[in-house]
């Protein structure tokens, strides 16, 4: 039984860097809302979770999905609808949204996993487009208007989430919880097999692993956590719209993960923060946002493939 440095001794070199990074991240998230607008921070956390979930599939599983928006968006719609039309409490709405995304992930995963590489990407795109069409047509989604004025409600019937502070607390807990879950998964035996499949699938098969099953499970996990991000985001902004199921959203999450660093734990978080900040502070310049995103894409692919965290990790020679 091989022992990799990571699973054998949690306090070893590699993990210490990660623990420090985690502590820094938590500190930033706790303190930042004093200066930085809380809704902006919550948006960053939701997208960071989305990017982390996406990274689970591509960074650790080696599968590029071009349809991840379907999880973010469908969960958002279900969560918004539950909160607004059914009057469910926020934790139930978020749960419902996440389960919806899981369902979508199971069905689409079963269909998509059989293919690899570009075909896999294309099939996820096709499925995402069908979800988009469904969201466009279904009466409950409100089409172009989206579902608006979604009430945040009272968490567990007790804590009123209308105040940004309370909502921030909830989003922080969800984000950190999911992040730790991903961390645990990546460092678990399952995570190791996944990485093995990514590196050399044929060899993994020859060792007796049912690689399709591992990939499917990673896909479903990735989709579920993306759904969690989407369901939470719908309550933060109190609205669910077509933007979240459009294929350009799938492109954005790729960008965030790429900028931050594919296959690193903290990369997607940093990538999401960078991209969201850029979109926010450049909104006044209109179409320049798209141009700059394109430039970042190009630079990252040509010269900066490891991404921000990837470069740092490479420099300190520890995984992050």
């Amino acid at each position: 039984m091989s022992t990799s440095p990571l699973s054998a001794n949690p306090a070893s070199d590699g993990s210490r860097a990660q623990l420090i990074a985690f502590a820094v991240m938590v500190a930033v998230l706790l303190i930042a809302p004093i200066w930085v607008y809380p809704i902006f921070m919550m948006k960053v956390m939701c997208f960071a979770l989305f990017a982390c979930a996406f990274n689970l599939l591509i960074g650790f599983g080696g599968l590029l999905s071009f349809g991840h928006a379907m999880f973010l968006g469908s969960a958002g719609y279900v969560s918004a609808w539950c909160a607004k039309s059914l009057g469910l409490t926020p934790e139930l709405s978020i749960l419902a949204g996440t389960l919806a995304a899981t369902l979508v992930a199971i069905v689409s995963g079963l269909l998509a996993i059989r293919r690899q590489g570009i075909y896999f990407a294309m099939i996820t795109l096709a499925l995402a487009q069908m979800i988009f069409f469904f969201c466009l047509q279904a009466p409950f989604t409100g089409g172009e208007d989206g579902i608006q004025a979604v009430p945040r409600g009272k968490l567990f019937g007790l804590i009123d989430l209308t105040s940004n502070t309370a909502m921030y607390g909830l989003v922080l807990v969800i984000f950190l919880g999911a992040f730790l879950l991903i961390w645990r998964i990546v460092h678990s035996p399952f995570g190791q097999v996944l990485k093995a499949v990514r590196e050399n699938e044929a060899r993994a098969i020859s060792l007796g692993y049912d690689t399709d099953r591992y990939k499917l499970f990673a896909f479903i996990l990735s989709g579920t956590l993306s759904g969690l991000a989407g369901a939470t985001k719908a309550l933060v902004f109190q609205l669910a719209s077509l933007t979240d199921v459009h294929w350009t959203m799938s492109g954005e999450v790729v960008l965030m993960t790429l900028v931050g660093g594919l296959g690193t734990l903290f990369g997607p978080v940093v990538g999401a923060a960078v991209i969201i900040s850029m979109q926010n502070y450049l909104a006044q310049f209109g179409a320049w946002v798209t141009v700059i995103q394109g430039v970042i894409f190009v630079i990252c692919v040509l010269a900066f493939r490891r991404g921000i965290i990837g470069e740092i990790a490479h420099a300190i020679r520890k995984p992050l």
Binding site: Y37, I39, F40, K43, L136, Q137, G142, G143, E144, D145, G146, Q148, A149, F237, Q238, L239, S241, T243, D244, Q279, N280, A283, Q284, F285, G286, A287, V289
Partner: protein, 336 residues
């Protein structure tokens, strides 16, 4: 009075618009948001403005829900709305003989609303709707739908869509000889900028309703003269004019009520009658609807035009009281 202006592009996305609005109100101490095209974003910002007690002056968005079921004591809907478009254009066309219609509708809430409102008007005036077809938003090719419109032999082909869909449909209608072979196009939402991008050769004969045209009178021309050089030479559309008019009245209301608290200023704006060089005299109703006359417009033939942007001829004026939906029919909870 010190006035500071900030601006942003919401990219037609309700979530981007919401976030900007929230940040502006909470962090940047913005008092009023103006313009706001795209109905879905306007509805979202409408809610946020109400919650925070600020002021919203909508000129760009069309949905008549802003003065209907989504009406708010913090919002005034300027310039136009879907009901006005439907009734202005629909009424006028049916009365001049266009009594059979075929709808080409963009398949989203705005298109549906426009189609529904126009159909009601057509039928109320004794006309018939011979058919309708829904096309996806941002359709490039309308040939198939236009063919169906031709086959229906309706006198009027109503375009219940906007923006690129409308201009594409009009361009291709010209190609397929829709107008040449005896049918007429009714654009339900057309701006002079659309006419400019189509060119008169293609757009001639198009009939639609608007509430401002730069070449209507000396005052509008004076405004256009100031506007064009500052805006790459384009002439103002009714949306531009609406923003000007709304902000002017807003500032007057602040002066008169000596406060910039959103709800109070909006109430003062409703109390004061409006008067500006672009829309003339008008008023604002309890449901937040600004009232002013509307104009039925036809696009000139190339020979009739004396130069760039000389595109519209005013066919009829719809008085302010008739142009907009009666207050009791909107379902606005503030008015019950």
């Amino acid at each position: 009075m010190k006035v500071e202006i900030v601006s942003a592009d919401h990219q037609n996305k309700p979530d981007v618009g919401s976030q900007i609005a929230n940040q502006w109100y909470d962090v940047d101490k913005v008092d009023a948001i103006v313009d706001l095209p795209t109905s879905s974003v306007a509805l979202a910002v409408n809610e946020i403005t109400r919650k925070k007690g600020k002021a919203l002056l909508v000129s760009g968005a069309a949905t008549s829900d802003l003065t209907g079921k989504a009406c708010s004591p913090n919002t005034i809907h300027w310039t136009y709305d879907t009901w006005m478009l439907a009734n202005g254009t629909g009424n006028a066309i049916v009365k001049t003989g266009g009594d059979s219609w075929f709808f080409l509708t963009a398949d989203y809430a705005f298109g549906h609303a426009l189609e529904r409102d126009t159909e009601a008007v057509v039928q109320k005036n004794g006309g018939k709707v011979l058919g309708k077809v829904r096309h996806p938003l941002n359709t490039q090719d309308f040939s198939s739908f236009l063919l169906q419109a031709q086959a229906s032999k309706a006198k009027i082909v109503g375009l219940a869509n906007a923006g690129g869909d409308t201009t594409n449909a009009i361009k291709q209608a010209a190609e397929f000889g829709i107008v040449r072979r005896g049918q007429n196009l009714a654009g339900l939402l057309v701006f002079i900028s659309d006419v400019h991008s189509l060119g008169l050769q293609t757009a001639q004969g198009l009939i639609f309703t608007e509430t401002f045209y730069w070449d209507m009178n000396d005052q509008t021309r004076a405004f256009a003269k100031r506007f064009a050089p500052a805006n790459r030479g384009i002439q103002p559309t009714m949306v531009h004019a609406g923003v000007y008019s709304a902000v002017l009245h807003y500032l007057k209301a602040i002066e008169s009520s000596k406060t910039d608290d959103g709800s109070k200023v909006i109430a003062e704006m409703k109390r004061l009658p409006t008067d500006d060089p672009l829309f003339g005299k008008g008023s604002i109703r309890a449901d937040g609807r600004k009232i002013h006359p509307a104009y039925l417009v036809e696009v000139k033939k190339p020979a009739e035009s004396k130069g760039p942007w000389d595109y519209h001829k005013i066919r009829a004026t719809i008085p302010a009281e008739e142009a907009f939906r009666p207050m009791d029919q909107g379902g606005c909870p503030m008015v019950k």
